[in-house]
Symmetry: C2
């Protein structure tokens, strides 16, 4: 196994040496004099766990900035859906690689991704070296014919059979888009499938008041309660958004040890509301953090997400003590890792070596009174110098392998989606 | 006059050459073949106006991250005031230079600053090459003795006599801290002074509900109405925060052409509330943008401030059309320039050459469907490659002159403020 030795790096305000063997932290000690395949000088740098982005649609980076001022429905109908309908598998591959590049540049090494052509997303994740849970969000507008529904089910089954290029870092999951886009029959299908294959389940839940109202009207209960009926609340379920939860919903989430992916920037931008971070935290709900897709953020930076998380927490709770930087940093790291069964998110012997190095002399990290506060409130991507996932270095001195090529390929693809040409079958 | 020629730069989606003569844009044209003292290759870059930070306390960067989870009053009493009491003039000079470095790295070339020892702040602004309005915020706790009040007035008068090291870029203003910290007598003194010397007036107004309630109780009217009584609402007045305005307040602000400095991050972090950006915009109030001091943000990045401004605007108004990226970009640039009488904030012939160049191939600026959207929502400081103020280059390829030295001097000073030692007269 490859041995990597980091010398003189700051961990929790103390200088240490860290030996990584294979994909794990082997030894953390004041002085390590062992031989290693590679030695990294950590002087002037701190080591921190890398970020886990627990709710995103990476390829929506292709749709970033098309318009930021439309009502959700108009935006989806006029700008988003027509373009999504024309996306080809290679577009998803190229866009995913680019989105992962953006995430690595911001210290993120994991995505819980939900989008079309997840086979391509898996390929991109494998090649870029991060971890990810990917799933195929076949939806069902409740008006589908039985034939259409069978066709969609088959697509999901096909994806489950599709070879996983790297089971060590990639997990195939189930996407139930939401209770308003997936029929009861389809929910049951997903639930049976998740149970049979012991899979993670990724669901948008209680994102908007409207969604809750539709559920109350259609199903006679909240979205969370509706999911429970089908056995879709599990300790492998992650509910994205959770802005509008009742106390009963929270009790159900606790009962089933279901996790939440909090997406504060998206919630502000789409005026969905402000999630009760502090209340959920105090009730011991496991909160992870996600950027959502780039089209509704418009960034994949977990640093920015942590800051907006703090701003949301304090204003929502009307409490200065809400949104403690340590709780937010955990939401962005260890809570995400744990939610998906990766023994990472903290720098300790025996844990997976998913980590970043940050430049303690960076102007944005001065004064250095509290590094975690600086990471949550002050840091930007370029404070991070190096990124490692599974013991492998993905960014070195801010450079990611092939980054110019990845950007250029994405730039070319993106030009196709700039303008919609409705008179032809093409985009451009 | 020095001639600077920028070749092949993107302005409003078109490639142009731009000739700067002295401190102004002289010619903007498809092709300029004139001789110049310096030629800059603008290929792959866009030119945009630089940012104007219209409400800040720069030296509070010395207090960044001390704690982010205390109630305002405890935080001020336990962490902030004891340290501020021990700040020496040189601390302010060093901290201001460092804060300006941070601002330049984020494309900001102007500060409307309110803090102690503004003489030192002026020196720092002069040396760093940006523009600024500085003022001496002598307050009066309404319990001061007449002697104390006279002493404070004298300090303000002394500052007005203090030599301005660079009247071209620096303006001395008046700080009325707020209606709850400055007595009626002192307000009148400030008003008379501002009128006599035709000065800008910088006031915190309607930041919190508590402030409004105190004003109603003590003065029988809102803070804005109270300021009007003393002639402190003028077209050279800038009111910071304005979270809690009545319709009558808005009418007064419009009547006197008073400007607002919106500080959304600080308002979220201190749970002060959400300013009605869209309503004020639609009523034609001039909204500028400010970061507030770094201790309540914790950043001086106008890029971050624009994003939080957008998030605040949409959620506050519950309207997706609120907070248009173009309006927000204007608030961060031309509105601020105009508010302080600088003929800048837009790239046009004859205007002051305060501008930035951004790297259009930067991963955060792809896809490039809408550059202004990307600047508001997606950009981070390192998208900005070059910064100019008054025709002078302050940052070149992301390097600011003496930046390592400025950081190191700040780092040394900041160590003195890390811990409070209440048993001695020193900090450290």
């Amino acid at each position: 196994m490859k041995k990597l030795l980091i010398k003189k790096v700051i961990l929790n305000e103390k200088q240490v040496d860290i030996l990584i063997e294979g994909n794990k932290f082997k030894t953390i000690s004041e002085l390590i004099e062992e031989e290693a395949d590679e030695i990294i000088n950590g002087e002037g740098k701190a080591i921190l766990p890398a970020f886990y982005n627990c709710h995103t649609h990476m390829s929506m980076t292709l749709l970033k900035g098309l318009t930021d001022e439309k009502e959700l429905e108009d935006w989806l109908k006029e700008d988003i859906w027509p373009r999504e309908a024309k996306m080809q598998p290679n577009d998803i591959y190229v866009a995913s690689k680019f989105a992962i590049l953006e995430m690595i540049k911001g210290g993120t090494v994991f995505c819980n991704d939900m989008y079309q052509f997840p086979e391509e997303t898996m390929k991109a994740i494998d090649e870029m070296g991060i971890r990810g849970v990917v799933s195929k969000p076949e939806i069902d507008d409740l008006l589908s014919t039985p034939e259409e529904l069978e066709k969609r089910k088959k697509k999901v089954l096909d994806f489950i059979q599709y070879p996983n290029p790297n089971p060590n870092r990639i997990i195939k999951g189930i996407s139930c888009h939401s209770v308003y886009t997936v029929s009861p029959e389809f929910l049951q299908f997903y639930s049976d499938l998740a149970k049979k294959h012991d899979m993670y389940i990724h669901i948008h839940a209680c994102e908007t008041k409207n969604e809750v109202n539709i559920s109350l009207k259609t199903h006679g209960c909240s979205p969370v309660k509706h999911l429970e009926k089908f056995g879709l609340l599990t300790d492998k379920t992650i509910l994205a958004h959770c802005v509008h939860l009742t106390d009963e919903d929270i009790d159900l989430i606790l009962k089933y040890k279901t996790r939440i992916a909090h997406c504060p920037t998206s919630n502000f931008k789409l005026k969905s509301g402000m999630m009760a971070f502090q209340k959920l935290k105090e009730k011991d709900v496991t909160i992870t953090l996600g950027t959502d897709g780039s089209a509704s953020n418009n960034s994949l930076s977990m640093l920015e997400e942590m800051k907006v998380c703090a701003l949301n927490a304090k204003t929502q709770a009307q409490d200065s003590k809400a949104g403690h930087v340590n709780d937010i940093f955990k939401a962005a790291t260890i809570n995400g890792a744990k939610a998906f069964g990766f023994d990472a998110g903290v720098i300790e012997e025996g844990k997976l070596a998913d980590f970043i190095l940050v430049d303690l002399n960076h102007y944005l990290l001065l004064p250095n009174y509290n590094l975690i506060s600086n990471m949550v409130y002050s840091a930007q991507n370029d404070c991070i110098t190096d990124v490692f996932c599974d013991g492998v270095q993905l960014m070195k001195d801010r450079k990611v392998k092939d980054e110019d090529k990845i950007c250029e390929e994405f730039r070319i693809i993106s030009e196709k989606f700039r303008k919609l040409d409705n008179n032809s079958n093409t985009i451009g």
